[in-house]
């Protein structure tokens, strides 16, 4: 499974199992480059694998949101667990970005 997948003008980024300052690594740089090169209008951060996140994840999401908003694009966060949703909510991300909960997260783990 490729971590970065382009579908039309949408970039889907499969987020790591544990999302912190270390694993965030090259994600912003690669995403920003692809926005330019592939004419990306929308980024979907796919959290189906992610069980842990700290504020480093907030920075990555909000940084891309600000960038794409200037270009008239959008950002979405998908397949989030209850825990990740709580963190996104606490940081105010759920107020400005569409966040889709993973319905069967507990059963699927």
């Amino acid at each position: 499974m490729e971590q970065f997948q382009v579908k039309g003008r949408t970039l889907v980024i499969r987020m790591p199992k544990e999302l912190d300052h270390h694993t965030t690594g090259q994600i912003p740089g690669i995403a920003d480059r692809m926005i330019g090169e592939k004419n990306i209008q929308r980024i979907e951060f796919d959290f189906r694998d992610t069980g842990f996140m700290d504020s480093s994840g907030i920075g990555v999401i909000m940084g891309r949101y600000q960038k794409l908003r200037l270009l008239g694009g959008s950002v979405a966060v998908t397949h989030v667990s209850d825990r990740i949703w709580r963190i996104l909510h606490l940081a105010g991300v759920t107020k400005v970005i569409e966040v889709e909960k993973e319905r069967n997260w507990k059963e699927s783990k």
């Binding site: 544990e18 912190d20 300052h21 270390h22 965030t24 912003p28 842990f52 996140m53 700290d54 504020s55 480093s56 907030i58 920075g59 990555v60 909000m62 940084g63 825990r83 963190i87 606490l90 940081a91």
Partner: protein
């Protein structure tokens, strides 16, 4: 039942140690029988403190970070200490959304998360000397006591 226990770890301020360090604190806390949610809270708070030490305290140079943990009754005490550049204005640094490094995609939510997930957070910092973040969390506050 009263229990007391302590541990200390010292490790390099490499980002690859962030995972190890928060898991070590989480593992130490298991003696208090925390819920999964409480473990996740502690891991997130510790991760924030360590990331601050690496990025801000040491400007990504490899030096030492110390973590001291203590449990007393049902409370976990965690200290994360670095010998880095220190925080000039602690009050400002603790404001949500405030960051000195927006260029690194930092959200400015680090201290806000520590405060949200722990019961108490105190910061002692001196320019050129280093920073100590002291946090505590009482385990089992939301649960019924053992019957």
């Amino acid at each position: 039942m009263e229990q007391k226990n302590e541990m200390m770890i010292t490790f390099d301020s490499r980002s690859s140690n962030e995972s190890f360090a928060r898991v070590a604190v989480a593992a130490f806390t298991t003696q208090l029988n925390p819920t999964l949610e409480e473990v996740a809270d502690i891991k997130t708070a510790v991760s924030e403190a360590i990331t601050n030490a690496i990025i801000h305290g040491y400007d990504n140079q490899v030096k030492k970070i110390r973590i001291r943990c203590r449990v007393s009754d049902r409370t976990l005490y965690v200290e994360v200490e670095d010998d880095g550049k220190g925080i000039a204005d602690v009050k400002k640094a603790m404001e949500p959304m405030y960051t000195t490094r927006p260029d690194l995609d930092r959200s400015g939510m680090g201290f806000a998360f520590m405060e949200a997930f722990m019961d108490q957070v105190e910061v002692e910092s001196e320019a050129g000397v280093g920073t100590i973040v002291r946090m505590k969390k009482t385990i089992g506050q939301t649960q019924q006591p053992f019957a």
